[in-house]
């Protein structure tokens, strides 16, 4: 009787496991179907994804000779690096300064800082467009850079702020009392203490900038980053060279993320085994 119940339970467990596996697999198919299509068509001879015309590495070879795509790639990457660096520096100093402000003005500034995070990208983009055309900024690259720095700043500030809250105010005062100049105290005491927040703010800023389409579309007057290039091309059919480029970028990121994660999983397992050994010994 007990045996029968146990058998039924294990069978139910197996059914449940099968169902779970199928569901997650179906979800992953849904998530990856377009990505597989994009990578698949990067290996075709035809120029667009409308038809398959035999295997070829042509898109990959021509990719690096396509001036428009290389320009767009350069704009995307350089804006991401510049805007992340500038917003991290300005944002870190801003957080340190805001932290020592009085409560009322600090609350006001923090609320205004949240505005770009709450505001729909579409509205932010249009507001930049109106401002820049009023100010007479003609250079599209400069306009895009200013916009990206601005929408990155809140994310940097809200990554650094919690770290400041965790660290002690006394550290800075102590450093001053011990003869540091304010600059030295910052460099040697405060900044090392909040470094994790600064790094995560920088990474967040970089990824947001590299991924942006909507704000750039309105803010940059004519200059194209990769997203704008793709949106403009979509009317006529996207060239398979873009497939090749995004396949390369995607596989690089995928490899990096998997390496980092597998490493941490392996470390976790090693720690688990170590724990078990210790537990056994003490028993």
């Amino acid at each position: 009787m007990v045996k029968a119940v146990r058998l039924a339970a294990s069978r139910l467990g197996r059914v449940r496991k099968f169902f779970k596996g199928t569901y997650l697999f179906a979800m992953l198919v849904f998530m990856y179907a377009p990505i597989i299509v994009l990578i698949f068509f990067s290996f075709t001879e035809s120029r667009t994804m409308s038809s398959w015309k035999g295997f070829s590495l042509g898109s990959y070879q021509q990719l690096f000779r396509d001036a428009a795509i290389m320009d767009a790639l350069w704009v995307t990457v350089s804006i991401a690096v510049l805007s992340a660096v500038i917003s991290t520096i300005v944002g870190t100093f801003a957080s340190i300064g805001l932290y020592s402000l009085k409560k009322r003005p600090r609350a006001v500034i923090e609320n205004i800082t949240q505005l770009p995070m709450v505001n729909p990208d579409l509205v932010t983009g249009i507001s930049f467009m109106l401002l820049f055309s009023f100010m007479g900024f003609r250079d599209g690259y400069f306009r895009m850079l200013l916009a990206h720095i601005t929408f990155n700043l809140p994310y940097v500030i809200f990554s650094v702020m919690p770290k400041l809250r965790q660290s002690s105010d006394m550290l800075y005062e102590a450093a001053l009392d011990l003869g540091c100049t304010p600059w030295e105290a910052l460099k040697r005491v405060v900044i090392p203490d909040i470094l994790p927040g600064i790094v995560s703010g920088f990474i967040l800023a970089f990824t947001l900038s590299i991924d942006d389409f909507v704000i750039s579309w309105f803010a940059a007057d004519g200059v194209q980053n990769l997203s704008i290039y793709i949106y403009a091309q979509a009317r006529m059919g996207i060239n398979t060279k873009i497939n090749a480029l995004s396949a390369l970028l995607f596989i690089t990121v995928a490899a990096l993320l998997l390496i980092v994660n597998l490493k941490s999983i392996r470390e976790e397992r090693a720690a688990e085994i170590q724990n078990r050994k210790v537990a056994r010994k003490s028993a």
């Binding site: 990505i35 801003a94 957080s95 909507v214 793709i230 999983i265």
Partner: protein, 273 residues
């Protein structure tokens, strides 16, 4: 030197690039060549087209959020019940697609849903030929769900893995079966994740403009498309600004509702103790 000095460059930046641009939208909505005008406000509320498109956007965002929740909750739940290391790896696979440009992934759905695409071919193999998939409202909905699904899965997953397993054990010990435990214990405790998931899907969904153009073929314009068209194609800054402000108000209202919901969900969780 006072430490507050460090924030001055940012405060200047904020005034110039966060506050001033918003004032420009308000200015363009209410002023024409320096003179007060109600013309654009009137136009935005009198023309039924704008209202119709707004309703369509709200409906689509609702449907998309609901579908994301129905698809995303089970995914997050299943991930959370797996072994820790497997779940960590699988959750990476659910984030990874976001690293490919969203316009490109949406464009790939154009290829998949097209009349000579794989899905049409499978359907015609089973006898359903000439089913129109692309340039339908369903295609726009699919694009919305596809693009925002990870934003539903992740917050729910993070809440579920942090959930104290002893609550579930206690429910089981007190005689609750699996389904009762789920609906009376697990789901209420995961409400904060559900609410932030809903916020993170609904708000971008209501303001999106590229997805509908790529998958709806211009037939199913959303509010975002309308604003983009007014500003970029027509150069009608006044009307575009009014429509932007309406969208902004709508977003602010939904944020306030979500925050209220989060508070009540939090207090409900609190009554458990």
């Amino acid at each position: 030197m006072k430490r507050t000095l460090f924030s001055y460059p940012y405060i200047l930046w904020m005034a110039l690039f966060i506050l001033a641009p918003m004032l420009f939208i308000v200015y363009h909505a209410f002023f024409e060549n320096g003179r007060w005008t109600m013309e654009y406000i009137k136009a935005a509320f009198e023309d039924a087209v704008y209202f119709k498109v707004l309703l369509r956007s709200i409906m689509l965002a609702f449907e998309g959020t609901l579908l994301c929740l129905l698809l995303g909750y089970p995914t997050a739940y299943m991930l959370s019940t797996m072994k820790k290391s497997t779940a960590a790896l699988l959750s990476v696979f659910f984030i990874l697609p976001m690293w490919m440009n969203f316009l490109l992934r949406t464009y790939a759905w154009q290829v998949l849903l097209g009349s000579s695409g794989i899905i049409s071919r499978i359907l015609s193999f089973f006898g359903f030929s000439d089913v129109l998939l692309l340039h339908t409202e369903g295609a726009v909905l699919l694009g919305t769900v596809y693009n925002f699904l990870p934003f539903m899965i992740l917050p729910i997953y993070t809440v579920l893995i942090k959930l104290d397993k002893s609550h579930i054990e206690a429910a089981n010990d007190l005689g609750a079966d699996g389904i009762t435990t789920f609906f009376k214990v697990v789901f209420p405790l995961s409400m904060p994740g559900v609410i932030s998931g809903i916020t993170m899907v609904f708000i971008p969904a209501i303001t999106t403009f590229a997805i509908s153009r790529l998958l709806g073929g211009g037939k199913y314009r959303l509010y975002g498309d309308l604003i983009e068209q007014k500003i970029v194609s027509d150069g009608d800054l006044g009307l575009g600004s009014v429509l932007s402000l309406i969208l902004l108000v709508l977003v602010l209202i939904s944020i306030v509702i979500m925050q209220k919901a989060e508070k009540t969900a939090g207090s409900e969780g609190g009554t458990l103790w």
